[in-house]
């Protein structure tokens, strides 16, 4: 067996959580958490460097027996789809620690332990090649996330944490039944590659498709299962929002890519129009809701619903453009929305208000802050030259190819996003300086820059030269589509 790089990536944050638990001073806790997440980021970069873009299957595969009596193993591996998310998770993990450096001042140790545990579990989800292992990581994330929202969140945090917990739990439990049914259909195995090769009757596929859909749609979240998201986002501390938007929302879409499409191809093809319609609804509805918000964080939260609609639209377009675009767009959304939440958090730390009406003329007092904010706002509305442009263009091309009407509806969403984002930026950054008069706002410091800069680099890098990113996902997407269409088009 080769060097267990993926295990290392998964277990470094877990070990970090254990180490942090032993430390006494808050500062030592912060530095240790930063060290472990940085180490993990380094390992993820090493993984990407060693990633062979010519292979469509799983790489860095590891497999150890876990519960032999039930055919459960501890199996890890990444393909082009998951490799990008492993990297994104470690990147945002590091940034989350930076973002909570001063924002979290009570129970710092428990917070960092939760954050590191969260990271280990998210990495487990993206690299699991065993369905049981996947489910354990997927579900276990509820514990740290519940604490992150509920302990360090805003005023309505308890309600928001409950809602998040119960929505996700109820969805995942149906998924669990689906997993067990799949286990028996597959001849008592949880091995993901083996399950992908299954050829199930359409009837069974349909049932499983909807059992999975509930779990994944809650996580994405798709309209009408989205109502937990604004609550959770608004109440969560900055790091919690970054992780929620940056990584957690991707898991639903990742579930579609990893399970629904290859394991249930006929059902995926059959229900693709329905899924695209739901996605278009989410794009427009989320955009309209974002347009009506006065709370900065709520605005970004609703924009997430809209943007994730593009992702699911691209997935269920079931063509290369749409699929590649949606995977890239998931990465982009992680970077851009993660950054936007970071910016909301930074300004909230200084002014303790999130109401857009309280701001104005921020550019005069904090030019660096507003300058970078402009970049991420433009990226979020998919201006050419930024990362989201590439992703959205691909998704829309794929969407139009699959369904003209729904593609057109999605374009409406792109227009809406320009409206609410530019409106927000104008009210916050431009105009006469009313912020300077009311609050003492200092510009970003070095530590905050360290969190902002990498995200800014990725916005421009993907925007101007997306080729290396597309190269990673290219082969895996082709392979996935082949799997879907070979077996799914019989319908």
């Amino acid at each position: 067996m080769a060097f267990p790089l993926l295990s290392l990536i998964v277990f470094v944050p877990a070990a970090g959580a254990a180490v942090v638990m032993l430390l006494r001073s808050d500062d030592a806790v912060r530095w240790a958490a930063l060290g472990f997440t940085l180490l993990d980021l380094g390992l993820a970069i090493a993984m990407l460097a060693g990633f062979d873009t010519g292979i469509s299957g799983m790489q860095f595969v590891e497999k150890r027996v876990w519960v032999p009596a039930l055919g459960i193993s501890f199996a890890l591996g990444v393909d082009g789809i998951s490799a990008l998310f492993v990297f994104l998770t470690t990147l945002l993990g590091w940034i989350s620690v930076l973002a909570s450096w001063t924002a979290i001042d009570s129970k710092v140790k428990l917070f960092m332990v939760s954050l590191l545990a969260m990271q280990a579990l998210m990495l487990g989800v993206f690299s699991a090649l065993d369905l049981f292992l996947f489910y354990v990581c997927w579900e276990a994330m509820l514990i740290p996330m519940y604490l992150i929202i509920g302990v360090w969140g805003g005023g309505g945090r308890v309600y928001a944490a409950f809602k998040f917990f119960l929505y996700t739990l109820a969805g995942s439990l149906l998924f669990l039944i689906g997993v067990i049914v799949l286990y028996f259909e597959g001849g008592r195995t949880f091995d993901i590659p083996a399950l992908m090769a299954l050829d199930l009757p359409f009837e069974v596929q349909s049932w499983l498709f909807f059992a999975f859909l509930v779990a994944f749609a809650v996580k994405v979240p798709m309209v009408p299962l989205h109502t937990w998201l604004p609550d959770a986002h608004v109440q969560a501390p900055t790091a919690g929002s970054i992780i929620l938007a940056g990584v957690l929302l991707k898991m639903g879409a990742y579930g579609f890519l990893r399970f629904s499409l290859p394991m249930l191809p006929e059902a995926s093809v059959y229900y693709s129009t329905l899924m695209m319609a739901l996605s278009a609804l989410a794009i427009v509805y989320g955009g309209l809701l974002a347009l009506a918000q006065d709370d900065l964080k709520k605005l970004v939260a609703y924009s997430s619903i809209s943007h994730m609609g593009f992702v699911t639209l691209g997935i269920f377009a079931l063509n290369p453009l749409g699929l590649k675009g949606s995977i890239l767009q998931m990465f982009n959304h992680g970077v851009t929305t993660g950054a936007l939440f970071l910016f909301v958090g930074l300004i909230y730390e200084r002014t303790h208000t999130r109401s857009i009406a309280d701001y104005g003329g921020l550019m005069k007092v904090a030019p660096v802050y507003t300058g970078f904010l402009a970049l991420f706002v433009l990226s979020s509305m998919a201006l050419p030259g930024t990362n989201a442009f590439v992703g959205e263009l691909l998704v829309l091309s794929g969407g139009f190819a699959a369904n003209l009407t729904l593609g057109a509806a999605a374009v409406l969403g792109a227009l809406l996003s320009a409206a609410y984002l530019l409106g927000m930026y104008r009210k916050v950054a431009l105009g006469p300086s009313s912020v300077g008069a009311r609050f003492k706002v200092r510009d970003v410091n070095g530590r905050e820059m360290a969190a902002i800069l990498p995200l800014a680099i990725f916005v421009l890098w993907v925007g101007l030269y997306p080729k290396p990113f597309l190269a990673i996902i290219d082969n895996s997407v082709t392979h996935l589509l082949q799997q879907v269409h070979d077996r799914g088009d019989g319908q």
């Binding site: 039930l70 579900e139 519940y146 308890v158 944490a161 439990l173 067990i180 286990y183």
Partner: protein, 479 residues
Amino acid sequence: MTAAVLLSSLLASLPEIIVITGACILLIAGQFVPKGQEAVLVWASVAVVLLAALVTFTLSGGAQPAYAGMFVADPFSVFFKSVFYLAVILTFLLSRKYTDIEGIGGSEYYVLLLLALAGMMIMASATDLLSIYVGLELMVLCTYVLTGFLRREQRSNEAALKYVILGAISTGIFLYGISLIYGLTGTTRLDGMAAAVTGDPLDPGLLLAVVFIVAGLVFKIGAVPFHMWVPDVYEGAPTTITAFMSVGPKAASFAVILRVFLNPLVAGSNVWIILAVIAVVTMALGSFVALVQDNFKRLLAYSSIAHAGFAIFGIVAGGADGVASVMLYLLIYTFMNLGIFGAVIMMRNGNFSGEVIEDYAGFAKLHPGLALLMLLYLFSLAGIPPTAGFFAKFYVLVALVERGFVLLAVIAVLLSAVAAYFYIRVVMVMFMREPERVFEPALTPLVAAALAVTAAGTVGIGLFPAWFLRLAQQSAFGG
């Protein structure tokens, strides 16, 4: 009966003999223990249990029938006895300080627990309705007394009285079922029952007998519609006894239920339909009523009703996996439930009862380590991975789906989502509220040891279930 047969019978039941003898010696010797030296009693009781455990493991080879087929020492009973030993030893460890605080630390307390243990062990090994009855009565009589051990507290007396009366009725029903079976088949031996039925296995008389036996047994595990005693008895009894009752006697009753219900006669009478209904209603009632409880002990009482419902699903599934899933569930439940009760017992200090959920407000701020421990038990009870509680539920669901009961599995998981709500409500109170009063838990080294063992079990089985799963599968019967 020749001397050799008698000797082998005695050998097969040696663990029971050790426990009963030990209890008798302790009963007499305990009178001479001077005040303030009660720790000796704890260690003597633990030693008795450990000795019995040692002998039990030497008997774990194959099935050794004894006493003319009324008793058997087989891997199935060894598994359950191990669960009982674990439960009772942890109860001893948790009791030391608590009994001092409550002023109930006489030797009778330990003797009664040991005798209850003996009753449970007989139940696990019994293969005849009469020996089951003897074990059952020995066990419940001891728990009746222990429930009323807080002599000065009205609530404890009331609970004991309620328990005795309702328990006696259920025993009567059970006995009536046995006599019907004997009248119709001419035997009370489990293996002889099915063979003795000559006519239609769905004979109304037999059905009635089965229903009576079901009713008698279901009472002991606190399943609906015989659950009414559970909240009151759990609340009124000393917390250590509540902890013990929620795992030990419950596991023993499940052992009997497994043996009786998977008997060909009972299995042939479509009893699983009754059981499925009982399981669904039990889980639903336990989960929904727990939502509105303010008293932690009552909450845990309803939680234990809900868990009993979930475990019954394993019996409904039947087969080797079904049996093994119930066994594993009970083992895991012992760890996590004794853990959470251990935490509640620890709270009882000075004028602090630790029974009101609101009392735990801000607990995480005052005692972060203990709060994390409670968080672990609570999430495990809710069935969230990677804790053992998840694996327990998972395996039951696997057994259900294997038998094609997908709809039941869906109902089970949806009801456990409801149940999760009240566990995380306690977490919320501990972690997300500001402390209202400062208190010092009675964390003695013994309590700490008990909490460490339960935590190790809750985490360990969750992360490395393979060994325990194999143990349960090898100890299960049926197929």
